[in-house]
């Protein structure tokens, strides 16, 4: 390659991509969590000295780049549920799709629409065990619910109801955390029963769930 061409490419390089400015920045990292990288932090040797186990610690901060999905997560910060809609076939989604899923729509880019803060339970479960970061919040009622005219169901927690009182098809409202507690993540909101909804009478299944859930409340109290 001629030297003049290389020089020209170097000169123009900054124009090939535009870097956005990130003025609004927030960190929610708990105190004491440090990015230590990778470190061997201990070992154990069996009494017969035949077997060794080693302890490795790893802590790393990731950047999740939301790209075209960003309006959904920015919407959460603003207390809105943003959905998308296909300009050709009219299908609506939350969780959103930035391109239509119909093979007939040729991955057309979808439009953003603000969704109503109402939903319906599609299916549900009551969790008595979970991942490490969720243990202290047990028992958790997880519902898959359809928000507005979405063609898909979204998973989130249902609050404000006894675990045994959740029902298929029950009407819900979307409730956001106070603005200063929102992080632009899915847990910025949860579901609650729609105003005026009342649980149905006790049934054998409800009694069974109650029997299964009661020890979970006790177990959570023992967690440090």
């Amino acid at each position: 390659m001629a030297e003049s061409v290389v020089m020209e490419q170097k000169r123009r390089k900054t124009k090939y991509a535009v870097e956005p400015n990130f003025t609004e920045k927030k960190q929610f990292r708990p105190a004491g969590v440090q990015e230590t990288g990778l470190a061997f932090v201990g070992y154990e040797v069996s009494d017969d000295r035949q077997t060794m186990n080693q302890f490795l610690h790893y802590d790393q901060l990731y950047t999740i780049r939301h790209g075209k999905n960003s309006p959904f997560f920015i919407g959460l910060l603003e207390g809105k549920i943003m959905g998308t809609r296909c300009p050709r076939c009219g299908t609506t989604w939350v969780p959103i799709r930035t391109h239509c899923w119909s093979l007939d729509c040729d991955l057309v880019e979808t439009d953003w629409v603000e969704m109503p803060l109402t939903a319906t339970v599609h299916t549900w479960t009551v969790a008595g065990w979970s991942g490490r970061s969720s243990l202290k919040r047990l028992p958790i009622i997880l519902v898959y619910a359809v928000i507005g005219d979405s063609s898909v169901a979204i998973a989130n927690e249902l609050h404000g109801v006894k675990p045994w009182d959740v029902e298929f098809g029950m009407p819900l409202k979307v409730v956001f955390k106070p603005k200063d507690q929102r992080q632009g993540v899915i847990t910025d909101f949860h579901f609650e029963p729609a105003d005026g909804w009342r649980p149905g009478p006790m049934t054998a299944e409800k009694l069974r769930i109650k029997e299964l859930v009661e020890p979970v409340y006790e177990w959570v109290k023992t967690l440090k």
Binding site: T91, H122, A127, A155
Partner: protein
């Protein structure tokens, strides 16, 4: 159709968790290969012309490309190798890749080593690592781990199909009790007891309707399988090889809630299917495998299976997706104990994921190996007794399953 695909041998390490599982991944791989060599004296590692590695999560070992450690350790530098990763269907997908390699005629003998070391972190952290295969932006933070997603799907499926907690608890007890005849099974090695439906019903809540004993086991384990063409099979194991007569692989949405109106399913199976209840990728991949193997009536043409019972509920859902019973008959099918050892079509005589264990990358291979042992008449040597031996089987099905039903494969194995 290209070359006929055969299986001539394979072995697993014991599947363990915690205090009883110590082996390094390359040590475990060597143990499996050595056991396969004992079963198959004519087999030499130098006969292999491709190695595939079946491993799900590098989070557990904190080692990228850990297959490079195993491959090099086995003395195979120079041989082509790559890793297959496809969630819980990693083993099935590696078998699919090996079968394609043989079928094409490009490779004659393919080794597959699969493993997972899930006890390298705490149980709850391990659940969360696995759940990193859910969409972390939408599901991981909302209390989400796989048992919760599966419970939400199963809850609706059970209601709509009139299947009770007791019906699926019977599957859990069956598989764990089958594992009591299998010295490599984690249930045999760790909890080591026969259980009843009542024990399952009384075990702690994981996510309604799933209890602790309805769940498969997190495991450390390694498996090795040899897939080859028929000429090689006849050379090294003329009396004990089996053929892979059918195979299918299919996919579904990552988030279970996204499949209730998915256009390609609507196009294939009509509206309302799979909802959040049916494993469409299981039905679709089974249809492919059945077509290839000439199976029109699976319940009568298949003698037994080793299938992906990540949860007792999912085993029941899989029966339906495999076409063993429809919505009208599934309850009776379960209550007749059709899949118990003395039933019409025994499922998971080796113990399954509920009893043998579920070290993800090794799991599909373990199912294939158990199916192979049954067809090759090796159960009396591999299990503790013949009570988990299927009587004179000709045809078995292997099923491997990922995500929330996000990737599923099925294989039809037969005696030649």
């Amino acid at each position: 159709m290209g070359e006929r695909v055969c299986i001539v041998g394979g072995a697993t390490t014991p599947f363990d968790y915690g205090a009883t599982g110590f082996e390094s991944i390359e040590g475990g791989a060597a143990d499996c290969v050595r056991e396969a060599m004992q079963d198959l004296p004519e087999f030499r590692l130098r006969d292999l012309d491709l190695m595939l590695y079946s491993h799900f999560s590098v989070h557990f070992g904190h080692q990228l490309a850990p297959e490079w450690i195993i491959h090099d350790h086995l003395g195979l530098a120079g041989l082509p190798h790559y890793r297959v990763e496809n969630g819980g269907n990693t083993g099935g997908s590696a078998l699919y890749a090996a079968a394609l390699a043989v079928m094409s005629g490009h490779h004659k003998a393919v080794g597959i080593v699969g493993w997972e070391t899930m006890d390298s972190v705490s149980q709850s952290q391990g659940s969360e690592f696995i759940a990193l295969a859910s969409d972390i932006r939408y599901e991981l933070l909302v209390g989400g781990i796989y048992p919760i997603y599966y419970a939400a799907m199963a809850n609706k499926w059970m209601k709509e199909n009139h299947v009770t907690e007791e019906d699926v608890a019977s599957i859990a007890a069956k598989n764990k009790n089958n594992a009591m005849d299998n010295p490599k099974a984690q249930w045999y090695r760790n909890e080591h007891r026969y259980i009843t439906v009542d024990d399952v019903m009384k075990s702690r809540l994981i996510a309604y309707p799933i209890k602790k004993y309805d769940c498969s086991l997190m495991s450390r384990g390694v498996a090795f399988l040899i897939v080859c063409n028929e000429a090689y099979a006849k050379k090294v194991n003329p009396d004990g090889y089996v053929t892979v007569d059918g195979m299918g692989l299919s996919s579904c949405t990552i988030r279970a809630g996204d499949r209730i109106n998915y256009p390609s399913w609507k196009e294939r199976y009509g509206p309302g299917y799979p909802d959040m209840t049916e494993f469409a990728a299981c039905r679709c991949s089974a249809e492919q495998a059945y077509k290839m193997a000439g199976i029109k009536d699976p319940l009568h043409q298949i003698d037994f299976g080793e299938i992906h019972d990540a949860f007792s509920t999912s085993e029941a859902q899989i029966y339906k997706a495999l076409g063993l019973a429809d919505g009208e008959h599934i309850t009776q099918f379960l209550r007749d104990h059709s899949t118990h050892m003395d039933g019409q079509i025994p499922m998971n005589p080796g113990g399954g994921l509920l009893g043998y264990g579920h070290p993800v990358g090794a799991t599909g291979l373990m199912s294939t190996i158990e199916c192979y042992y049954q067809l090759a008449g090796m159960i009396p040597r591999k299990h503790l007794s013949t009570k988990t031996q299927v009587s004179n089987p000709e045809c078995g099905i292997v099923n491997s399953h990922a995500g929330t039903g996000t990737s599923i494969s099925n294989f039809i194995l037969r005696r030649p």
